[in-house]
């Protein structure tokens, strides 16, 4: 446990806070609605494959 704490000390608070914020920035992008064009694209690719 002590070793683990020493390690998380190496991974400083600043480091942890940066990662927390990175996750938030990424989550924001993740929560955006996916445009229909991609679902349509996949449907087109699928139908092409079936047609072959």
């Amino acid at each position: 446990m002590y070793v683990e704490m020493a390690e998380s000390k190496g991974k400083s608070r600043l480091h942890q806070q940066i990662d927390e914020n990175l996750k938030r920035v990424y989550e924001e992008a993740l929560n955006e609605e996916i445009p229909d064009r991609f679902k349509e694209l996949i449907a087109r690719l699928r139908s092409k494959e079936v047609g072959q």
Partner: protein, 221 residues
């Protein structure tokens, strides 16, 4: 969209099912038949669209460019599905195609795909911060100013929970390079935010966060 077993949870499980070795992510010797329990990547692909797009937005910082990049990635992935090893990490494979496409486009056009008008940044700023516990806008601005390579490594290992080993395969560099690049990127962010070790990044840390931070044993060093 927050599917579970594919990438592993935050922190990154190194032992992704079906990814026995680093090379396993790519080396495809798909004999056609899927291993038991493996899903057809065509069925699985739509589940990764959100993550792909988020990664693309992180790299380009421009929604229009990100969407073009995702579109190219889907088409490339679809036409190269025979190179995908069934049962291995599809998200990692797709991310790899996406970042390779991004860098090769960038080399070809030599055009900076930034967001000069700040359209994306502005759109994001309109969102109310629901917890109000940090200067997220400042952080985002600093993140936007990082090089794409720095944004990439931070998103892979800092935000989406890939292990260093996985990121190393995806980025095509040594594990040590991933680590040092991530550290340099974090240092650069801290520098831009005017932060040094021991300083608070959050303007008003809430109780639970403080408790967690306190417990992690990082008192003023």
């Amino acid at each position: 969209m927050r599917d579970s077993q594919v990438t592993g949870g935050p922190g990154g499980t190194a032992n992704t099912p079906g990814t026995p070795s680093a090379r396993g992510v790519f080396a495809g010797s798909s004999g056609g038949a899927l291993p038991a329990g493996a899903r057809d990547p065509r069925d699985e692909l739509p589940e990764h669209l959100g993550a792909l797009r988020a990664f693309a937005i992180s790299l380009t910082r421009n929604v229009a460019a990100a969407d073009d990049l995702v579109q190219d990635t889907i088409v490339k992935a679809w036409t190269n599905l025979d190179k995908f090893q069934p049962g291995s990490n599809l998200r990692a494979w797709l991310f790899t195609i996406l970042r390779n496409t991004f860098y090769s486009d960038k080399r070809k056009t030599r055009r900076e795909v930034a967001d000069p008008e700040g359209i994306y940044a502005a759109a994001l700023c309109e969102k109310p911060s629901h917890d109000g516990r940090l200067a997220l806008a400042d952080f985002r601005r600093a993140f936007d100013q990082l090089s794409p390579e720095h944004r990439e490594v931070l998103i892979l290992v800092g935000a989406s929970g890939f292990a260093y080993e996985e990121a190393s395969v995806m980025m095509g560099v040594a594990v040590g390079t991933v680590k040092s690049r991530a550290n340099r990127a974090r240092a650069r962010l801290a520098e831009m935010l005017g932060l040094e070790e021991g300083e608070e990044l959050l303007s008003g840390v809430d109780g639970p966060t403080l408790a967690v931070l306190g417990k992690s044993g990082v008192r003023a060093a």
